[in-house]
């Protein structure tokens, strides 16, 4: 099945793309999509669990199964505030 991957901020810069179309196996989860992406772009791998994900504009856990046509966004940690 086909998924659209969207990358933000530093993830976008490291991968050199804001949107990617990729094939995923039936039954693949958000975590599977991330692992394949980190294998394709090793510079992303150090982010590991620090990356949040959203499917079709809602936050989603790594275990969430994806469906054909889903948009999966990967989000680096937010800036936060020091004070």
């Amino acid at each position: 099945m086909r998924v659209t991957i969207r990358l933000f901020a530093r993830l976008r810069e490291l991968a050199g793309a804001e949107e990617l179309a990729r094939e995923a196996a039936a039954g693949a989860t958000v975590g599977d999509v991330w692992n394949a992406l980190a294998a394709e772009f090793p510079a992303l791998a150090p982010y590991g669990r620090a990356v949040s994900a959203a499917v079709n504009d809602d936050y989603a856990p790594r275990r969430r199964p994806i469906e054909d046509g889903d948009e999966v966004a990967f989000l680096p940690p937010v800036s936060g505030g020091r004070r």
Binding site: F8, A9, S52, D58, A73, S79
Partner: protein, 176 residues
Amino acid sequence: MVIPWFALGYTESMSTPRFVVTSDPLALGPLVEVVARPDGGARRPGAVATFLGLVRDENLGRRVTHLVYEAHAPLAVKAFERIEAEIRVRWPAARLALHHRMGRLEAGEASVAIAAASPHRAEAFAACRYAIERVKQIAPIWKHEFFEGGDEWIEGATADPEDEAARAEAMRKACA
């Protein structure tokens, strides 16, 4: 530039949307106006507290030239709506408006504008402080800092919106 209201897709009135991510300059006036208005039979608020976050010209000892903000806009607007829902659990009569700027901002420009209305001032101040603390924790908005000699994406840690400890920490700051 004046944009006719019908071009913005408003159906009910010409009022400012309460939760927005925009590349246009921010102003508190419209936010105050929209939260101060009586809302569907609710009581008219007795207080509005506001917060305006500005781009500093210094960070970590570096001279900042400008920032570029990036967001996952639909998710950011949902985060703002969620923050208001959390506020209403604690202060049911409170009402929030929150606009965040995107794109390139120079030092001194406003990056975030918040207005919180409630029947009394204590809750308005607390709700406003809670809102900015939660934006920093959970809103998918990133800051690319450009300073003299380089640039850096500022990355902290994203709190899971469901994380009770993060929510409690924001509430503690709001009510300090």
